[in-house]
Symmetry: C2
Subunit: 213 residues, 2 copies
């Protein structure tokens, strides 16, 4: 838990118009602390300031609150997840089946590559902690919507192409996402568990009601 007890990196002051750059550095430092310590409680005003190499009150130029930093971290993480899903879709060919697997595996890969971030994104330390802070409920309400839509669309393509059968495409999409989330979250939480090797593909195939090839 010791974070540079006395680390004066002699940080150069930003140029006149580039003060906002410090905001990115703050968020990046917060993400670093989260990834290293694995505990969102490690993201504190002072710890972030230490990591960046600035004085703690200097953060108030860029964030009104400490929860505002957390919100920025989570927003950035969701943007990264969305970008990763889009990249996977762009790299895939036109087969709806392969596109569905691509986006699902990209989702799972994000959670596996950044378990602490995933845990924080969906851990729900929000509703309680943001009482009386600058973070409003609407800031956090629609955070994962775009990512879920990408998944829903990919499943819809499969249904349209006749590769997937199901009585209710929307409910199936929700179920598929819930299954992915269960796997992703549990993988992010437990150190090492003997998962069946093909557990991901099994869940995707089953929940998407994919027909045998």
């Amino acid at each position: 838990m010791v974070n540079e007890p006395a680390a004066p990196p002699a940080r150069p002051r930003n140029r006149r118009g580039e003060g906002g750059r410090l905001r990115e550095e703050i968020v990046a430092a917060a993400v670093e602390l989260l990834d290293e310590n694995g505990d969102e409680g490690a993201i504190t005003l002072r710890s972030v300031a230490r990591r960046v190499g600035i004085a703690a009150p200097s953060i108030y130029r860029h964030f009104p609150d400490q929860p505002a930093i957390m919100l920025a971290v989570v927003q950035q993480a969701f943007a990264q997840l969305e970008a990763q899903l889009r990249t996977a879709l762009d790299a895939a060919d036109d087969d709806p089946r392969r596109r569905l697997f691509a986006v699902c595996h990209a989702y799972l890969r994000f959670a596996q590559d950044h378990p602490q971030r995933y845990r924080t994104m969906f851990g729900g330390v929000w509703m309680p902690a943001l009482q009386g802070t600058s973070v409003t409920r609407s800031d956090v309400a629609s955070l994962g919507d775009t990512c879920i839509r990408l998944l829903t669309d990919a499943l819809g393509e499969c249904v349209t192409a006749g590769h997937a059968g199901g009585t209710d495409p929307h409910a199936d999409a929700v179920a598929l996402w819930l299954g992915l989330h269960g796997l992703a979250h549990q993988r992010a939480v437990t150190v090492a568990y003997p998962w069946p090797p093909d557990i991901a593909d099994r869940m995707i195939t089953t929940l998407a009601h994919l027909r045998d090839t």
Copy 2:
């Protein structure tokens, strides 16, 4: 966040041999704080002591650490979940199909009735926080095993009776639990989301590979 700023409930001291009763009171108070504030960070040595009506250091008679309280809370929660699953199984008849649904719905009901507890049980604030504390990794390793076995057995009965088909019963059981966990966890985290009404039965039926009746 104000917890009895000065609440002297004039707690009577326990009788000579019943000092261990305070331990139960401490755990109960910790659970109360968790359920009310919804944040495991609300379980602190001093807040628990205030709630019980004792001085903070008095806790050290019964717990070596603050993490030890958290461990006790989680252990108790897992015991409650297990008891709830067994109760549901005992109340069910002999039809394997109905027994499977009974245990699955009991699982989901626990998460819905005690969302903060569920979040804490599976939230994984463990691996990081127990560094250098009295809580060892083995204390937390096999916490949910019994509950998962109850689920696995219920699915196994369905397979044996021919009500469920699947190529790998163990993998299917894991997948079923992951699906339940995804739904339970997400329900415990989000305030209100328009879930498809029959989402639970859909996931259970699909992941268990239940045959049409």
